[in-house]
């Protein structure tokens, strides 16, 4: 019962970060600030959803798998964000508001 309540709270909090990330992606003026919005969804949004689902998981194997997924998404998001930022920087295309 408590676990269900905690799951609800955590998943909803995670969704809030996903919503914030998408909103930032749409509203922020240039690539660098949009990167910032993206990593919020990766780190905290998925992190909170995974944490909420861990409370519902059966057995340590499933919990481990969920944690692994989160770590992989973190690594992928950080790498992609870094590389896109670097590429934009080296090309000097500082894109302005449309």
């Amino acid at each position: 019962m408590i676990a269900d309540l905690l799951t609800t709270v955590l998943v909803l909090a995670g969704l809030a970060f996903f919503a914030a990330g998408t909103l930032g992606l749409l509203r922020f003026p240039d690539v660098y600030t949009r990167l910032h919005a993206l990593t919020k969804a990766d780190n905290l949004g998925l992190g909170l959803v995974v944490l909420g689902l861990m409370l519902q998981a059966e057995g340590p194997a499933m919990i481990f798998k969920l944690a692994l997924i989160w770590v992989l998404v973190l690594a992928a998001g950080a790498t992609a964000a870094h590389m896109v930022a670097q590429r934009t920087w080296t090309h000097g295309e500082f894109e302005r508001r449309e």
Partner: protein
């Protein structure tokens, strides 16, 4: 619950159709490719809703990893070709002579807002393409809408049929595995799988035969982040691939999913630091690429002489044989996908 799932299905289908439409209507190739990657993601979720986790696994590995990388590297190669100087002075270096390009200026056919997006990325000028001509628009629209209506009417009147599911369930105990799809792929309908491996091999050979000048450029790795990420991801990818191969005997997974994951991992490695990679021994590469089909064929022939018939195996030996075949198939599929991505033979081979 049901209503929520139904809403989810409708939104998903609308999203799939919308993404496919925008993808095919795009005048910017890069945008079309990103939309196609998104399409693959939504498709994997659709397969989940159709109770096909095996297909979703394959779609995830292929859609997220392989197709995206393949399309992006193709765009890069095209950009390189289009931007390079022309030596043949007789040839007209004007933009592609679209036979109906004059129609593109017709009202209604011009793209809206794409000019700005193209200008923002001047380096991608070679990656834009003419919009569809206005002429003939209504004919194809009518034909395709009519075809879709016909298909839908057929589907709507079709009687529900349980299909072959009861038959497969009945014979599971002789298949040697506990997962229906693996049993079908490697025991009940092994012909399909053998021909599929042959098909993958043929595609690889075809790309290989186009020559060696299409090699991947060896660029220095910018900074330590990418090698670090690869160092983290590669072991996990290999373990995941082997896990999927092993899981295929009793749960969603199998040779194709494992091969696709390992192939995507190989693509990641070749992208991350091609200049540090030693060129593989061509003979070993050839053995690896053909291993799946040859192993399958050899065991199938053994079945002809020692067992009941070609491509069949006695049920007590089925599990180890299937595992051997699947291991070979995984290796071949992974290597062929990497070879298809790199494109062309290794430069060392001819020297």
């Amino acid at each position: 619950m049901n209503a929520a799932l139904l809403t989810f299905d409708f939104v998903l289908l609308a999203g799939l159709l919308g993404v496919a439409w925008r993808c095919l209507a795009s005048t910017d190739l890069f945008r079309a490719v990103v939309l196609f990657i998104t399409f693959g993601l939504l498709l994997a979720i659709a397969w989940v809703r159709l109770e096909a986790p095996d297909i979703a696994l394959a779609e995830a590995a292929i859609g997220a990893g392989i197709t995206g990388a393949l399309l992006l590297v193709t765009l890069e190669r095209l950009k390189h070709i289009m931007n390079r100087p022309r030596t043949d002075t007789d040839h007209d270096p004007a933009p592609p002579p679209d036979p109906v390009a004059s129609d593109a200026d017709a009202p209604g056919a011009a793209p809206t807002g794409d000019a700005a997006s193209r200008a923002a990325d001047a380096g991608n000028a070679a990656l834009s393409c003419a919009p569809a001509p206005a002429r003939g628009r209504w004919i194809t629209l009518v034909v395709t809408v009519g075809l879709a209506g016909l298909l839908m009417a057929t589907l709507a009147t079709q009687e529900h049929d349980p299909g072959l599911q009861p038959t497969v369930a009945e014979h599971m105990d002789v298949s040697g595995v506990d997962h229906g799809i693996t049993a079908v792929l490697l025991n009940f309908r092994s012909w399909d799988t053998l021909l599929e491996l042959a098909m993958v091999l043929l595609a690889g050979l075809g790309a290989w035969s186009l020559g060696r000048h299409d090699a991947l450029p060896a660029r220095p790795t910018p900074g330590p982040v990418l090698p670090g990420a690869v160092r983290l991801l590669l072991p996990v990818a290999i373990v995941t691939g082997v896990y999927l191969l092993w899981a295929g005997s009793h749960a969603p997974g199998g040779a194709f999913q494992a091969g696709a994951v390992l192939g995507a991992a190989g693509i990641l490695v070749s992208l991350a630091r091609p200049h540090e990679l030693p060129d593989p021994d061509p003979r070993l590469l050839r053995i690896g690429v053909t291993a799946g089909a040859l192993l399958f064929l050899a065991i199938g022939l053994w079945g002809l002489f020692a067992g009941p018939a070609l491509l069949t195996w006695p049920s007590e030996l089925a599990y180890p044989l299937i595992l051997i075949i699947e291991t070979g198939a995984t290796l071949s599929i992974a290597l062929t996908l990497v070879a298809l991505f790199i494109g062309g033979r290794s430069p060392r081979e001819d020297t």
